[in-house]
């Protein structure tokens, strides 16, 4: 993998790292995992799922009909598993590097309060 995964891809793969999920399940899982920051809609989700299936990162698992609604489940493929593991390792190294740098700051040099998101650039 040459470039980092984009955030929606990362969260979809993370959601599918557990048991197989259908579209609605993935939307709920992504919202929960991202702390509510990423609210995907079906039109966006299914475009993403198509790309990930094409790339061989996820696979269709099974289908079932619940209350007259078709649900198709998806699971992470072996390639998707390896891709997510590599990305997770890359992020872990980033976090460790940032944590180490922050740990080197003296209390006086450390920011007292977090900067608000979207503040003055």
């Amino acid at each position: 993998m040459d470039t980092p995964l984009r955030e929606p891809t990362f969260w979809i793969l993370t959601a599918l790292a557990g048991p197989p999920l259908h579209g609605y399940g993935i939307i709920r899982a992504v919202a929960a995992l991202s702390g509510g920051r990423l609210a995907m809609r079906p039109g966006t989700l299914y475009g993403a799922l198509d790309r990930l299936v094409d790339a061989g990162l996820i696979e269709a698992d099974r289908e079932e009909v619940v209350d007259g609604r078709l649900r198709r489940y998806y699971h992470l493929s072996a390639t998707g598993n390896a891709t997510l593991a590599a990305e997770t390792e890359r992020l872990r190294r980033n976090v460790e590097a940032a944590t180490a740098r922050l740990g080197n700051l003296t209390p006086a040099a450390r920011p007292v309060a977090p900067r608000p998101a979207g503040g003055l650039a």
Binding site: M1, D2, T3, L5, R6, P8, T9, I12, H22, G23, Y24, I27, R41, P42, G43, T44, L45, Y46, G47, A48, L49, D50, R51, L52, D54, A55, L57, R69, L70, R71, R72, T83, G118, G119, L120, A121
Partner: protein, 331 residues
Amino acid sequence: MRDLERRYRHLLRAYPAGYRQARGAEIVGTYLDLAGPDRRWPSILEVADVVAGGGRERLRAAGAADLIPGVRLAGLLSYLTATALAGFWATAEVVTTSGVWGSPAFGPFATTGIVIWAGWLLAAVAYAVGPARWVRAAIGLALLLTAAVVPVAALFELPRPYLFVLLPQATLGVLALAGPSRTARRQRLVPLAIALAAALIAVGVLSGESAWFYRFSYGGAFLPEAGAALLLTAVLAATVLSLRGDARGLWALLVLLTPIGLLALYPLTENIAPVVGAGYADFRVITGTTAATFVLGGVTLAAALAIRARSSAAADTPASPVHQRCPTCGR
């Protein structure tokens, strides 16, 4: 079948027929899962989501999925151009004088255009300090002011900028709605910096000029240069991105042909007038050239899409691994 399900299925016509047949039931099921039990109509956001998803799928089927990131790039370049022009004309509103003969003014400013340019500069400030939704709201407001100044100025008999200026500005503004998104903090200051640079150029070029000159001569004086700068930037971006196997620069260039043509409208009409047998660039020539610019821009883009669809049907191989692209936009 419930009313809501029928309506979702109806909306799904935005998708290609083959895709609808394969995935329609699954997508409708997910929308129904997300909808509350008492819902009878899809929400506006859901309608937009279906239409956008269907559009993306149609482009993907045509082998032109990178058109959407191309439009975003065109939107960003349009936004920067619109901001630069706003900085230039806002300065012109201030530094031009009434001249010896006097000319109608709007308070201390040359025309009501100051309201428009202030709106565009406000959008640049929003880009620097606010989230993407602020920027789009500010661009929407600036667009509204750009359109509203024509009837308002006519109603109250106030001076306003020439239509040669307002038309490309509005077209750039519509494209700009697709452009700006979250970027690094330093990059957010770029539009303001460009507006400031354009303002400094305007101070040098227009200081002491008559407001008559500002109102009636600038269509042929500065807009073609802005169009040439935009064209050069778009060609450069298309070349660099193409060398990396990324076609979005080419799509952006095709999308930008229309606003570039509108920025060059004044010299175009001057050259077309004798060709069509008109003594000068009258209203008929100007409106005809404007319509031709829009039609030619649309036809060029449609032809490129058709060519791409044909070639992608022959060999459908993605330029880069799919998992490296954003699943929401394909970029």
